[in-house]
């Protein structure tokens, strides 16, 4: 009987073992490959959704840039001081001066 050494990696087989090793081995059915892989979860943000959002952003930016500036609806602005009419404080003095 063949002796067994625990540290022997087992490369030296007997004739009987070699005959057994010569048997053709089965392979898993090829259709298993698709069955074994777990189903891929749908992406959180599918590509069409992202494309739609991007298109919305572009459209919004276009509208924003194309719209003219609107009037400021705040309190009325004062005209510049040069355009203001002269205030006639001393109207009597002015008239007397004209009569001379």
């Amino acid at each position: 009987m063949k002796s067994f050494d625990p540290m022997n990696s087992g490369e030296d087989y007997s004739e009987f073992e070699n005959q057994l090793r010569g048997m053709a081995l089965r392979q898993p059915p090829p259709e298993w490959k698709s069955l074994l892989f777990p189903p891929v979860p749908p992406p959180l943000f599918p590509k069409p959704l992202l494309l739609g959002i991007a298109a919305c952003w572009v459209a919004s930016l276009g509208v924003f840039l194309a719209t003219p500036e609107r009037e400021d609806l705040g309190p009325p602005m004062l005209p510049p001081p040069a355009a203001e009419p002269e205030i006639m404080d001393n109207a009597l003095a002015i008239r007397m001066e004209n009569e001379r």
Binding site: P6, M23, L25, R26, K33
Partner: protein, 174 residues
């Protein structure tokens, strides 16, 4: 390298593992469970664990050993869980790990070898299959089956002796 197993493997990694190791995993699962549908379920569970990162990190050198150990643990769990169903299935002919041969003599030998393998205790059968047909060393077998090295050697010796005795009539016929 599969150091990233904790994070889950990519589809590319899974495909590589499948292409390199699934045949050995399939035959080892068949040796233990003896039922193709159960082996398919077991392998699905294992690939799901790998994809979800529920497997420990492993190195390329020990990749096959690690995967076969996953098969071992998964199969033992199933055998314990489905003991009643399995007892009933024992009566059914076991599914074989060998390819059918068109040569009638070789096919007859294959059937006798199948019958002889089934007669081995499961502990001896798995060691013999791993050693003879999956080319694993005793050290690797001891890791896969979670047994001491000497136990792996002795189970192999007893298994081979029993196979030789069971197949002796075939050789005498030839």
């Amino acid at each position: 390298m599969m150091g990233g197993a904790k994070r889950g493997l990519t589809a590319k990694d899974l495909e590589r593992i499948h292409d390199e190791h699934v045949a050995a995993m399939f035959r080892y699962g068949l040796t233990l469970l003896r039922d193709e549908a159960s082996v398919r379920d077991l392998l699905q569970d294992i690939f799901l664990k790998l994809a979800q990162g529920r497997a420990e990190a492993m190195t390329a050198e020990s990749e096959k050993t690690y995967l076969l150990r996953m098969v071992h643990h998964g199969a033992i769990d199933r055998i314990r869980r489905d003991k009643v169903r399995r007892d009933h299935a024992e009566a059914q002919p076991a599914e074989t790990i060998f390819e059918a041969s068109p040569d009638p003599d070789r096919e007859a030998y294959r059937q006798r070898l199948d019958a002889a393998l089934v007669q081995l205790p499961q502990e001896q059968r798995e060691v013999v299959v791993l050693k003879l047909w999956e080319d694993r060393t005793f050290d690797e077998i001891s890791h896969i089956c979670c047994i001491p090295l000497n136990t792996a050697c002795s189970r192999y010796r007893y298994g081979i002796d029993k196979l030789r005795a069971l197949l002796r009539p075939v050789y005498e016929e030839l």
